[in-house]
């Protein structure tokens, strides 16, 4: 089996799920004839036709609203946001309509809302967002943010089969930069399960999406200095894999959280609270975090570099933590 990119993994998941079940349909802007801004849906229209692959007007609210309606009639729509930044335009449909539907009146909304997110590609303030925390605060949603081609494919297939509204963030920096071999046979990856990317005993680096790769790079640097870091990839942010987080903290006694999202109100704060509640006695040092700055994502390369975390910043924070 040849190595595939994360983008190809996502593409395969969509094709396979639409092949498997005619109730699965796709909606979005420029996803049909054009094949999507990043070509994730290339060939989808040719294979599945205009009834199943719907090129929609630039109306995020209409697209997500319609997907809710389709879900009520038993379809399983996969919605593409051309860039995930535009999810802000349909915030109400996502948080008030879709997320609360099952709790309020027992009507599940089986919808996947996916799109390219994240920085590092000089997209500027409106094409680089990591908006996960706006939605972490919304009961009823599930949030997935994978870091590998294997996970992206397996988790997207699970998301399509899930009965709840699932936000599926695809880090665009990883789309074509990482490659890996994936099994020829069908597989899925369960939602809500973190994974250990690197075993270690001295401290835990907890991360997700593109920052998993940054954290791995930092861990290799640290290894040369005699610091053995464990790297955990959350994969799913909502619901959080509380058990995996606590188990690792209980093992290494030190926790560094790395995320590309901005600092204040980022997931590090939530995880820090969770660890204090569940493993305070096990901590040998303060819970540390490396995050982006509390600013919009700047456009110019030196500014964006300053804004984003990188392996050096992660390693430096880990060294400080290791001293405890």
């Amino acid at each position: 089996m040849a190595a595939i990119t994360m983008l190809e993994g996502i593409r395969q998941a969509i094709f396979e799920e639409m092949d498997r079940d005619p109730a699965v349909v796709a909606l979005g802007e420029d996803i049909g004839v054009y094949g999507g801004a990043f070509k994730v849906t290339e060939g989808l229209l040719a294979r599945f036709g205009p009834e199943r692959v719907i090129d929609a007007p630039i109306s995020e609210t209409a697209i997500v609203g319609a997907a809710c309606g389709m879900g009520y009639l038993g379809l399983r729509p996969i919605v593409e946001m051309q860039f995930i930044d535009f999810i802000a335009c349909c915030f109400n449909q996502v948080t008030n309509f879709a997320a609360k539907s099952h709790y309020r009146w027992g009507a599940p909304v089986p919808m996947v809302l996916r799109g390219p997110s994240g920085g590092g590609v000089h997209g500027g303030p409106f094409h680089s967002a990591n908006p996960e925390m706006y939605f972490m605060h919304t009961p009823g949603l599930k949030i997935i943010y994978p870091s590998t081609a294997y996970d992206a494919k397996g988790l997207l297939k699970s998301a399509v089969r899930d009965n709840n509204p699932v936000l599926f963030f695809e880090h665009k920096y990883l789309y074509r930069r990482i490659k890996e071999e994936i099994p020829a046979e069908e597989y899925t990856v369960p939602i809500g399960k973190a994974v250990v990317r690197r075993e270690g005993k001295d401290l835990t680096i907890l991360s997700y999406a593109a920052m998993v790769h940054t954290s791995m790079e930092a861990a290799e640097m640290l290894a040369k200095e005699g610091i053995d870091a464990e790297v955990i990839d959350l994969r799913t942010l909502l619901p959080l894999d509380r058990d995996a987080i606590l188990a690792s903290v209980k093992k290494t006694n030190k926790l560094l959280i790395v995320h590309e999202d901005t600092r204040t109100g980022g997931i590090a704060g939530e995880i820090a609270a969770l660890v204090c509640e569940g493993a305070f006695e096990d901590l040998d040092g303060p819970i540390a975090r490396v995050t982006s700055l509390d600013t919009p994502v700047p456009y110019s390369p030196p500014l964006e570099e300053r804004f984003l975390p990188n392996a050096e910043k992660v390693a430096a924070a880990a060294r400080d933590l290791a001293k405890y």
């Binding site: 593409r11 395969q12 094709f15 092949d19 005619p22 109730a23 349909v25 049909g32 004839v33 054009y34 094949g35 290339e42 060939g43 229209l45 040719a46 294979r47 599945f48 036709g49 205009p50 009834e51 199943r52 719907i54 929609a56 007007p57 109306s59 995020e60 609210t61 209409a62 697209i63 997500v64 609203g65 319609a66 997907a67 809710c68 309606g69 389709m70 879900g71 009520y72 009639l73 038993g74 379809l75 399983r76 109400n92 449909q93 008030n96 309509f97 609360k100 539907s101 099952h102 709790y103 309020r104 009146w105 027992g106 009507a107 599940p108 089986p110 009961p139 009823g140 009965n163 709840n164």
Partner: protein, 473 residues
């Protein structure tokens, strides 16, 4: 531009209803009013947990529109459309218990008012408080119904106030671009909370909005239940025949404040008197009497039936328990508690590759020129240069795409009604003419753009030959 509005006469000649149906309309309107009347009393006794929003004076809108739907059709009510819920088959006890936050309510006390629905039997979608959101949702319902071959129509309401929201415009535009079988009732009750319609919307009729979406619109008297029914029935049939969506503006008046707490002192007294004289139930009672559809005995029988039902259901609601506190923690996610299964009324085979596979190209019917002869020029250009038929690149093991253009969503099914059949035939002829024109139109190859290699090479070639010519000169 001429507005395709047809102001309906408030008469009832067009309606072809049986006596039972005429009496049904009365029953539901009166049930609606008496139910709400009791809820006002319950509110004053502090037995309603939250707010209470009156639909007094608007009963004909809720009942007349919902009555035009078939059981398989879908609706989504707004807060004042209690009458529509009753027509759709919900019981007064559902409304009582919802407002009283009881465990026996359709939402088990998790939400109140008309914020409930039922996907399996009543085909009703729960509203949320953010206005306009139901328009895209019901567009999706209509699209899914068509996709599944169910031949259903989706209907929802929006107020004069809600017609200013972004969701209204995005949703209606999407519905129109999809030709979705969707009826939107714009319930113009003259007031968005305390703001009169003229201060919200600078058009004479809210129905005029339809022009912007290229859809049919109608205006009707919202206090004449038969007119409301007839107009909606027409719209529903147009949608079922594939000519949706349709917007209907119903002119009515909210006779109470925004909710119970609001004395509505901002409404001129003369305006209240004007509409009071046009009370939809009093008017309909007069109509039934004048046309000898009923007599005093029939009326009293129906009224007694309503009283008995309301007595029973109010008692049920008052005696029902509040929900157990631990329920608050349950039901955030669907963890397999609901089975999601579509009701397929067409063959899945049609939607399975290779049957559903197409040649992924756009049909471009106009170059968008201001020139009135642009279409003719386009045809000439197309004939001069035979369209280059590029096949879509087969991706991910996709079979070679069939040479088939992308057609607009499923064509309409003809009605048995002779005039509708004639209209459909004319429509088909027009579509054929359209198709002929389309065949001559240029086609944009799949994925063609500056990043496309063939495109770049072709351009480079042209550039080269142009330079060559210049060089010779």
């Amino acid at each position: 531009m001429h507005v395709a509005n047809s102001v309906k006469e408030t008469g009832t000649r067009a309606a072809k209803l049986t006596r039972e149906q005429y009496l049904d309309l009365y029953y539901y309107m009166q049930l609606n009013r008496q139910l709400e009347d009791r809820m006002v009393r319950l509110f004053r006794q502090n037995k309603i947990v939250g707010g209470l929003y009156s639909s007094l004076g608007q009963e004909a809108v809720s009942v007349g529109t919902a009555y035009a739907l078939e059981p398989k059709d879908w609706l989504a009510p707004m807060i004042r459309n209690i009458g529509a819920l009753l027509v759709k088959g919900f019981k007064p006890r559902d409304i009582f218990t919802q407002h009283m936050a009881k465990y026996t309510s359709p939402t088990f006390g998790k939400d109140g008012t008309s914020h409930f629905g039922d996907l399996k039997v009543h085909h009703t979608i729960s509203p949320i408080s953010m206005l306009g959101d139901l328009i895209p949702v019901m567009t999706g319902v209509a699209m899914a119904g068509r996709y599944l071959g169910q031949n259903i129509v989706a209907l929802t309401w929006i107020g004069d106030g809600g017609s200013s929201t972004g969701a209204f415009h995005e949703g209606l535009n999407f519905a129109a671009s999809q030709r979705a079988p969707f009826v939107l009732i714009v319930e113009n009750n003259q007031w968005a909370y305390s703001t009169p319609v003229a201060r919200q919307v600078p058009v004479k009729n809210l129905a005029d909005r339809a022009v912007a979406y290229g859809i049919t619109s109608k205006i009707t008297d919202g206090n004449d239940v038969v007119a409301v029914y007839t107009t909606t029935k027409e719209a529903v049939e147009e949608c079922r025949a594939g000519h949706g969506p349709v917007l209907i503006e119903v002119k009515t008046h909210r006779m109470k404040g925004h909710a119970q707490h609001d004395p509505a002192e901002y409404v001129p007294k003369e305006m209240v008197e004007y509409w009071k004289a046009r009370d939809p139930i009093a008017r309909y009672e007069k109509f039934l009497t004048e046309n000898k559809i009923w007599d005093a005995k029939t009326k009293s029988e129906i009224d007694t039936r309503i009283e008995a039902l309301l007595d029973e259901d109010q008692k049920f609601a008052e005696e029902s328990p509040l929900p157990p506190p631990e329920l608050a923690e349950q039901g955030v996610y669907c963890d397999g508690c609901h089975t999601i299964e579509a009701d397929w009324q067409r063959s899945k085979e049609e939607l399975t590759p290779p049957n559903c596979s197409v040649d992924a190209v756009w049909e471009v019917k106009s170059f968008g020129s201001l020139d009135p002869d642009a279409a003719a020029e386009m045809k000439a250009a197309a004939q001069a240069k035979q369209p280059q038929q590029l096949q879509a690149r087969p991706g991910n093991g996709a079979p070679p795409a069939r040479a088939e253009k992308i057609a607009p969503p499923t064509p309409p099914k003809a009605l048995s009604n002779p005039s509708a059949v004639k209209a459909a035939a004319e429509k088909t002829a027009a579509q054929e003419k359209d198709a002929l024109e389309t065949a001559a139109a240029l086609r944009v190859p799949f994925g063609r753009g500056p990043k496309d290699r063939a495109f770049r090479e072709e351009r480079a070639q042209k550039e080269k030959s142009r330079r060559g010519k210049r060089g010779r000169r």
